[in-house]
Subunit: 355 residues, 2 copies
């Protein structure tokens, strides 16, 4: 499988993880949180999604500007047997989401289901990482975040709701875990930037220009609004996710959350993490076998012409990750330059493969 | 608001509820379950959705044919503090889903979150009714069902997954509860039958014919497959819903569940019900006020041309229900004839307005 082009530099995952953790520690992030941040960023890179290590520069600039606190000591402020509220104190989103998912996992193992809602935190990067953490403990997981307003309620072009990305995961036995990671909009904000970078038009039906006209121009879409995935359904899901995150947490909702350009502005994001322990329903081995059978039945479906085979959500990512664990993570020149700048700036030694 | 045409007969909700409960009792359904069945059917009719009272005939024929058991005594076979598994013993789906949601509600009030998964049960009709039950207790609710295979995994035209309908609900203060009720496909099976009955073509992108061609012909779509809402996202959600219902329950998954034509065949459906108590996060009045503010901000959005105003999910249904509670439920001649046939067949006295 071709996972990188000739112009890229290949870095072993362990080296990249170690570098990212050192950078975070250097700007004041405690050891445990720095490890969590680096793990999540490298997990994303391993799966071929470019929203991991690129955010290391954002982390540093936000901590320096004061929009993100390096050592905020997030605290559980409400707790019952299967539910908790976490005050993020403007921590980096990965830090709170990992803590919240671990708390949800512990509660699920005890009571069957556990949920934790977080307020006053920042961007959690790839949402799929958090249910994946649950699958590593044998549990089903759900992660939801609210975000910068980018879409309108159904039937309006006023920006009110974010992508409100979410992810669900389920462990399997012989197979990789199922990880379904989605935005509630047809395209994510990150996705539109990628079309723009490639100078490609958007697929029709993904966005409206600021004046309400349908557009396939990435620049017009970035100035306009995103359309929900599945029409009114995408709006319905985004609204319920806003309730489970921004409303239920006591944090901001429909908030003018700052984007990466506002490094000094607090993020005020909220997240919702849930875990469910299937071993409360049946022996765990039986559950894993049932999931494997489900996956086998998906694989046995004939693909439409042009498709080699039928995949389950998360399968491609797991395959790419297996290759990259073995062969290293390819980084585009722009990423390598960012890491070199961080190394120079903070005096953190570059991975050998980049030095 | 015009809620019925001249050819319809108008029945007070209380009369229709009483008639439906008597019919259910006459075929052997215990008092409490008969009341639950009638409540759910009339709730649906009040909201202008024609999948309520039309199923009364199905209930009777399935109980007579043996596909549904009238008095199956559904039993909790696994239970932990926030999770339970209910064996449905081929009960009518409304019976088990109401019990399961009540159990989830009780667990949520105790621990914060409660979930109940049901196996070996039948069709639960409108999924919105179950989170609505949660909202009546001040809770957030989620209901999921698996169903007859109608859609393929993404990238295949083999029927494998059902509509896998689901609904989420949230209580509000000044406003009606938010009730978001959706199928994971672009159109529901019921929706396609409605297009067929009106002799209208389907919207493009909703279905493929049996040979894999895109089609807008309802008959071709009924013989072919439905396409997921939001493309691969609809498949991802449907798959996760199949895991939370059919797999987690220990029941059938991706099952050739019988449709209404197979009254003697057991249904083997599974459902998943979850409730969450927002008063575990903040005082309940504060939560309701926050939801009201959210709704006010939706209402304040300017509508696109041609739309009178911007609505939240469940708002139209609540408005229709308020009118119908006051003025009665309009029934089409075909429904009135079904009720007359049931009355004649079972010796249950017709509502006065139909006699």
């Amino acid at each position: 499988m071709a996972v990188h082009a000739a112009s890229t530099t290949v870095v072993p995952a362990a080296e990249l993880r170690s570098f990212a953790a050192k950078v975070a520690r250097t700007v004041g992030v405690p050891e445990e949180d720095a490890t969590a941040i680096a793990d999540g960023m490298v997990w994303t890179e391993l799966r071929g999604v470019d929203i991991g290590i690129k955010r290391l520069t954002t982390l540093v600039s936000r901590i320096r500007a004061g929009g993100t606190r390096a050592d905020p000591r997030p605290a559980v402020i409400r707790e019952s047997a299967s539910f908790a509220v976490l005050e993020g104190h403007e921590a980096w989103g990965q830090v709170t989401s990992v803590r919240a998912m671990r708390l949800a996992i512990a509660k699920a193992k005890s009571t069957g289901v556990g949920a934790c809602v977080v307020r006053d935190t920042g961007n959690s990067l790839a949402m799929g990482y958090y249910p994946w953490l649950a699958t590593q403990e044998g549990l089903i997981g759900l992660a939801i975040t609210n975000a910068i307003p980018l879409q309108g309620p159904w039937g309006s072009t006023r920006k009110l709701l974010g992508n409100n990305a979410y992810a669900l995961g389920c462990p399997a036995g012989r197979h990789a875990p199922i990880i379904f990671d989605a935005a509630t909009t047809t395209l994510s904000w990150v996705g539109i930037h990628e079309y723009e970078a490639r100078h490609e038009p958007l697929p029709p039906g993904a966005a409206l220009a600021a004046d309400g006209r349908p557009t396939t121009d990435p620049a017009e879409a970035l100035a306009g609004i995103l359309l929900p995935a599945g029409g009114h359904r995408g709006f319905g899901i985004a609204l319920m996710w806003e309730i489970l995150s921004g409303v239920l947490s006591g944090g901001e909702h429909f908030a003018p959350l700052p984007d990466d350009n506002g490094a000094a502005a607090v993020a005020n994001q909220s997240t919702f993490l849930l875990a469910l322990d299937p071993s409360k329903s049946m022996p765990h081995a039986t559950f894993l076998e049932r999931v494997d059978t489900l996956i086998d039945r998906i694989h046995a479906c004939p693909p439409v012409p042009g498709n080699e085979r039928v995949l389950f959500p998360g399968e491609r990512g797991a395959e790419v990750a297996a290759v990259r664990e073995r062969e290293g993570i390819p980084l585009a020149p722009v990423r390598v330059n960012e890491l070199r700048a961080l190394s120079h700036d903070l005096g953190v030694e570059l991975p050998r493969s980049l030095a």
